[in-house]
């Protein structure tokens, strides 16, 4: 009898211990990203003005209609002006043929750097990048690869982002807020390259630190189908699975279709949302209580870090192993720091500006 009770009790106690340990681990990770981001120099100081003098960079975003990328380039232009680096945007509507034209334009107009930002996969432009390399134009990527992914061999330098770490952070938030008992629906777009490392991080963290958490289903939609597919399929999933208490749309612009699905199925307050990107309208959702948490990055910080990393590559200095822009967690407690309505760059602090200026040898 005693043996029987022990046989039942011991695994239950072990599960409770594992859950408590998981919650404690998640809290430690979350606390690191709740503090205001602190600037850490990405390398040794160097004369950035001398390195950048007379140089030209063509920035090609995934699409000029994407305000996140547009915002980064706008800030790159401003940072470039301080250093004597001419930064120009290659306006496009997200078509690979337009990206190819951009690289060809950079070769013809004797640019020094082609900057492929977030979502422009060098794999789709290999002939153009090869031709650029022959012509002495360096192609670099930023905010595209995860550090675990190998960069395309034709790319001169790359500044990866820890998408895997983002996945882990999303998992930690859900573990912490659900007390280690989350039934999760993940909304993903497998076609976007960062999705794989991000989801790997999410799965690994849940497996390692939350024995009672479960991913009920993963809804995979192409980016162009977000509007028509996310809301109806999430509604169906929520109605079919009343135990679901968390939704993780891995890119926060998906939230505009997630929030109404939760509302229309009468699950507001019962189903919480955690997401990534820090897009202003989603931060407004956080302020209104429709989204529980959003992990953000400062666009201006990304612009500074990109130019810093690229100039190091251009002038033969060691390139940082990643872009080094901290992830900052916005929740109900601090989202007002992002502005009302929220703005792209507010709430992250500004000591990185002084940090970079000092690093580049500019007057404070």
């Amino acid at each position: 009898m005693l043996a029987c009770a022990a046989g039942w009790l011991l695994p239950a106690l072990a599960l409770a211990d594992a859950t408590a340990d998981g919650i404690a681990h998640a809290k430690r990770q979350i606390d690191k990203h709740r503090a205001k981001p602190v600037f850490v120099a990405p390398g040794a100081a160097f004369d950035a003005r001398q390195c950048a003098a007379g140089k030209k960079m063509l920035s090609i975003p995934n699409s000029s209609a994407n305000p996140f990328l547009k915002g980064i380039i706008k800030r790159e232009i401003e940072v470039g002006k301080q250093l004597g680096l001419t930064v120009q945007e290659w306006q496009n509507q997200g078509q690979p043929s337009q990206w190819a034209q951009g690289v060809e334009f950079a070769v013809r107009d004797r640019f020094d750097i082609v900057n492929l930002i977030s979502g422009v996969d060098p794999k789709t432009l290999e002939p153009q990048i090869r031709a650029a390399k022959v012509a002495g134009v360096k192609t670099m990527t930023s905010h595209f690869y995860d550090p675990s992914q190998p960069q395309n061999p034709l790319v001169a330098a790359s500044l990866p982002v820890g998408f895997n770490a983002i996945g882990k952070l999303l998992a930690d938030w859900v573990i912490l807020r659900s007390n280690g008992a989350a039934q999760i629906v993940v909304i993903k777009s497998s076609e976007v390259p960062p999705t794989e490392p991000l989801l790997r991080g999410l799965h690994d963290e849940l497996a390692a630190h939350c024995p009672k958490c479960k991913i009920v289903t993963e809804i995979n939609t192409g980016v162009t189908e977000w509007a028509t597919k996310i809301q109806p399929s999430l509604q169906s999933t929520l109605l079919a699975n009343p135990g679901v208490n968390w939704v993780i749309p891995i890119y926060d612009s998906m939230s505009q279709f997630v929030v109404p699905a939760i509302q229309i199925t009468g699950r507001r307050g019962k189903v919480k949302v955690a997401t990534f990107n820090g897009t202003p309208f989603v931060l407004d959702y956080v302020r209104n209580g429709e989204v529980d948490m959003n992990i953000g990055e400062s666009l201006d910080w990304i612009a500074h870090a990109t130019i810093d990393g690229y100039l190091r590559a251009l002038c033969g200095l060691p390139v940082p192993k990643d872009i080094g822009v901290p992830f900052y967690i916005f929740d109900a407690g601090n989202v007002k720091d992002a502005g009302v309505p929220a703005q792209f760059d507010q709430g992250y602090g500004s000591d990185y500006i002084a940090g970079f200026r000092k690093l580049w040898g500019l007057a404070q």
Binding site: I219, S233, S236, L239, Q256, V259, F281
Partner: protein
């Protein structure tokens, strides 16, 4: 004589089957998923949610059948959905204007697009496909500029409340807006001289003209009505989402055309009709909802949409001896 009578009665049974085949298919889909998922699919809440969230798609499909009946395509419908939603968002949220003013501005903009379409199609005599493709692109560009390519959340709470939170028989008001428009179009198409004139214009413009119908006026009216209804779809869409974004409405265009053509195989086979279109939207939505509840990957739902359309149109063609179709 009796053989003739027998073949007539067989034909009328065939016609009856054709008229209600889509409705029957919808009931079969509901029954199938209901048996497989009784606790989740076959609930009033599931249907209430589906009816409300598909209201913008239903409105857009209804908008498209108006010019389609007159033989014109309106490819700008999806862009007008986005235009209306974004005008609401920018004026109401960014510029803090009252929701009534924002609604009036959205309606005026939709009306303007309809007038521009009508001018180039009817007066300048450029094919509707070309003109509306152009205006769709033009409107999309304007929308991106006007919204700074950003999604705008935080629409007037009273407005959102009215569209999606308030309910009648457990279904949000959004559904009743679409249902009312469907009823109105059904009445116009079936019981008014205007409906008959539109049909004649769609069948043969020249014959209609020789019969004294003011073809240009009918076509222009249909194009303007289409834009106004697409605006209404955009307004309801913004209410359902509680936000406005500059891209997503465009994705509703092809499914809406699919629903319009699928709808033309039932109720009044061979004609674009409001009842058939309305049923088609919810038939497709029911299939997708059931498949989603099964956890089937979303590519299957795209395949379901396409297969349903092709199979329905094919069966309809066989039912009437593969006669030349007036559709498209």
């Amino acid at each position: 004589m009796s053989r003739k009578h027998g073949s007539t009665s067989r034909a009328s049974v065939g016609a009856l089957v054709e008229r209600f085949a889509l409705l029957g298919a919808w009931l079969v889909v509901i029954a199938g998923f209901g048996i497989a998922l009784p606790g989740s699919f076959l609930t009033w809440q599931n249907f209430a949610v589906m009816f409300a969230s598909q209201a913008p798609a239903a409105l857009l499909a209804l908008a498209l059948i108006v010019p389609l009946t007159c033989g014109d395509y309106d490819l700008s419908g999806g862009a007008v959905v986005t235009l209306a939603a974004v005008i609401l968002g920018v004026l109401n949220v960014v510029h803090q204007q009252p929701i009534g003013l924002a609604l009036a501005a959205a309606l005026a903009a939709g009306l303007l697009v309809g007038v521009v379409n009508a001018f180039f199609i009817v007066y300048v005599r450029i094919p509707s496909l070309v003109v509306t493709l152009g205006t769709a692109s033009l409107v999309t560009g304007f929308v991106q500029w006007f919204s700074d390519s950003s999604t705008i959340s935080g629409l007037d709470a009273g407005f959102v409340d009215w569209i999606i939170v308030r309910q009648l028989f457990g279904i949000s008001y959004a559904f009743y807006v679409a249902a009312l428009v469907a009823l109105l179009l059904w009445y116009v198409f079936e019981y008014t001289p205007l409906g008959r004139r539109m049909l004649f214009v769609g069948k043969s413009r020249e014959v209609a003209r020789l019969n004294g119908i003011r073809v240009d006026r009918v076509r222009a009216g249909a194009l303007i009505t289409s834009s106004v209804l697409a605006t209404l779809a955009g307004v309801v869409y913004a209410g359902v989402l509680g936000s406005a974004d500059p891209f997503s409405g465009l994705n509703f265009l092809l499914p809406a055309f699919a629903a319009a053509f699928l709808g033309a195989t039932s109720i009044k086979p061979g004609r674009f009709n409001a009842g058939g279109t309305f049923i088609a939207v919810y038939f497709l939505a029911s299939g997708i909802t059931g498949l989603s509840m099964f956890g089937i990957p979303l590519w299957v739902t795209s395949a379901f949409n396409g297969a349903a359309l092709i199979i329905a149109v094919t069966l309809s063609q066989f039912a009437r001896g593969r006669a030349e179709s007036d559709l498209g």
